[in-house]
């Protein structure tokens, strides 16, 4: 009997939760704000769904009912991706060590 591919995805999901658990506990508390902004940016990988939805229109029809939702989702996700990564970058650039010569 063959295993449903869903089970494989479920395995990836469950294992990723554990990976996330251990990785996030090792994040230093002083970087918790960048952690939130970067998780926010990466969760916008939902844009792959938005792209598929936006390009789902049949021949010649760019804006069908379903693709419009896709386009809207692309805008929202793009705001997040660019905003999230850039603001994280901006924050992380501010974390500096004590200057030794003083």
């Amino acid at each position: 009997m063959e295993i449903d591919p869903f089970i494989f995805r479920l395995s990836i999901f469950i294992l990723s939760i554990f990976v996330g658990y251990y990785v996030v506990w090792s994040v230093t508390p002083s970087l918790h704000t960048p952690l939130m902004s970067v998780t926010n940016a990466i969760s916008s990988v939902i844009i792959v769904g938005a792209i598929i939805a936006a390009l789902s229109g049949s021949d010649g029809v760019v804006f069908s009912l379903s693709s419009i939702y896709g386009f809207l989702a692309i805008i929202l996700a793009a705001v997040n991706i660019f905003g999230g990564f850039l603001v994280t970058q901006r924050m992380l650039a501010m974390y500096k060590k004590k200057k030794k010569d003083k």
Binding site: T33, V38, I42, Y95
Partner: protein
């Protein structure tokens, strides 16, 4: 592009996202981590374009919309002041939530584009995943909007409670489950719309009873939700990158909520059910006898600090409100010139989101190795000469250790009162968020500095 190759590349981008979070374990590796995240995102988007393989006029529009959203995002990212970071993150969460809802709607209207069957005949598993993704996405969206409005001050931070609130929420949640079951058997689009509408309503209802200072928990929780929404959509689209990311973000947000709750010694449910701060106010006003308070001016404070050999700074949300972080750094620079040892003590729930104070201090060029967490520094207060409390209140209240009747009893607090002297910058004697008086105000060794945090800090610097 073959399905197998794209699946492997999605996996690669998922792994890069894991590395992005891993990088945050120390500030040195964090920038590299962020770069991994960006690479992962580029891979995921590129692979999607190649595997759809539709480079017609639609593709041009995708790029245009991507550019529009991207430039809006970049503009916000560069312009946002660091003090507004909680609002920004709440706002961004709402966008992820709404994007998840839109993708789910699109998949419901046109399932064949996603290989999920035909309209009215969608595969059962996909339909359930879609419904979960849409519902969680909608809750994330409306919840984050409320959190954003509360943080931005457009909506009052006071908890909004009414009778039967929890019952209503519970009923609505049950209704969502029932609707999902009916949706699966009927495939009716009306039910799908109702499901989304009720989810929006629930997100709204669960956030309004939660007060302003509990926002760290709310933001972390919504962070978690946005992850679960992404994972739900990931299952629908059978996309590994989305599933991995969703799980990562989901557990990340959950851990942060846990850390925040622990920092307040309250259970997650106690926070989520809300109303804190509104109900407890009465207990605080019962014993409102006038107790003597010593208050001083910038000159006194400067004198105390000049004669100290070590100073610990305790920043709180008030510092963010007054935008006093730069003035504070200047004061500390002057202190250091006088060979006074200065360190910063950060309580886990200081500010309106996890790590909020650390970012503000970093912005003011405070080296991160001078900033310490509660457990790291709490024993040092006994050996320090001066504690400078700026904009913090409840997190320094010794009542949490002494009075079992207090609503904050058991909450970990900074042992500020063990310092030789305490300087407490505050506008007035009004109680903090928990609605209880701070015993610290009336201690023999406490000097209250009644003023705006920024102005007071600047004045002290002048007098040093």
């Amino acid at each position: 592009m073959s399905a197998n190759l794209s699946a492997i590349l999605y996996l690669v981008s998922g792994v890069l996202f894991i590395l992005a979070l891993r990088g945050l374990s120390s500030p040195e590796t964090s920038r590299q981590g962020n770069l991994f995240g960006i690479i992962g995102m580029v891979i995921a988007v590129t692979v999607t374009f190649l595997s759809v393989g539709n480079f017609s006029s639609g593709f041009v529009y995708v790029l245009i919309f991507l550019a529009i959203g991207g430039s809006v995002g970049a503009f916000i990212a560069y312009r946002i002041p660091m003090t507004a970071m909680p609002e920004l993150v709440a706002g961004f969460h709402s966008l992820v939530g709404l994007a998840a809802v839109f993708v789910a709607i699109s998949a419901f209207i046109n399932p064949s584009a996603f290989n999920l069957g035909t309209p009215g005949n969608i595969k059962l598993a996909s339909l359930i995943e879609m419904a979960i993704g849409a519902a969680v996405g909608a809750i994330t969206f409306s919840g984050s909007v409320i959190a954003f409005l509360k943080l931005q001050g457009i909506m009052s931070g006071a908890p909004i409670t009414f009778k039967g609130q929890h019952l209503l929420n519970a009923l609505l949640l049950i209704l969502i489950v029932i609707l999902t079951i009916y949706l699966c058997s009927t495939q009716s689009s009306n039910l799908f719309w109702i499901l989304i509408a009720i989810s929006f309503l629930i997100g709204f209802l669960i956030i309004i009873p939660i007060g302003g200072a509990d926002m760290p928990v709310v933001i972390s929780m919504l962070n978690s939700y946005s992850g679960w929404a992404a994972a739900g959509i990931g299952f629908t689209l059978e996309n590994t990158a989305l599933i991995i990311t969703g799980a990562l973000v989901g557990s990340s947000g959950a851990i942060l909520s846990y850390i925040m709750c622990k920092g307040m010694n309250r259970s997650f449910f106690n926070v989520i059910l809300g109303g804190f701060g509104a109900t407890d106010q009465t207990s605080g006003s019962q014993n409102k006898e006038q107790r003597p308070v010593k208050s001083g001016n910038a000159d006194d404070a400067a004198f105390l600090m000049k004669n100290a050999s070590s100073v610990i700074i305790v920043p709180g949300y008030g510092m963010a409100v007054a935008q006093a972080q730069h003035a504070l750094r200047e004061m500390v620079d002057t202190l250091k010139k006088n060979d006074i040892k200065v360190s910063y003590a950060i309580h886990p729930v200081a500010g309106r989101m996890p790590g909020h104070m650390n970012v503000l201090l970093a912005e003011a060029n405070v080296p991160y190795d001078e900033v310490f967490e509660l457990e790291e520094i709490n024993n040092d207060f006994a050996n320090a000469d001066v504690a400078f409390v700026i904009g913090a209140n409840d997190v320094t209240n010794p009542v949490a250790k002494t009075d079992p009747q207090s609503p904050i009893y058991g909450m970990p607090v900074l042992d500020v009162e063990k310092c030789k002297s305490v300087l407490f910058v505050k506008r007035s004697l009004s109680p903090g968020y928990a609605g209880i008086d701070n015993d610290l105000f009336y201690k023999e060794n406490t000097l209250m500095l009644f003023a705006d945090a920024k102005k007071m800090t600047e004045d002290i610097t002048k007098n040093l």
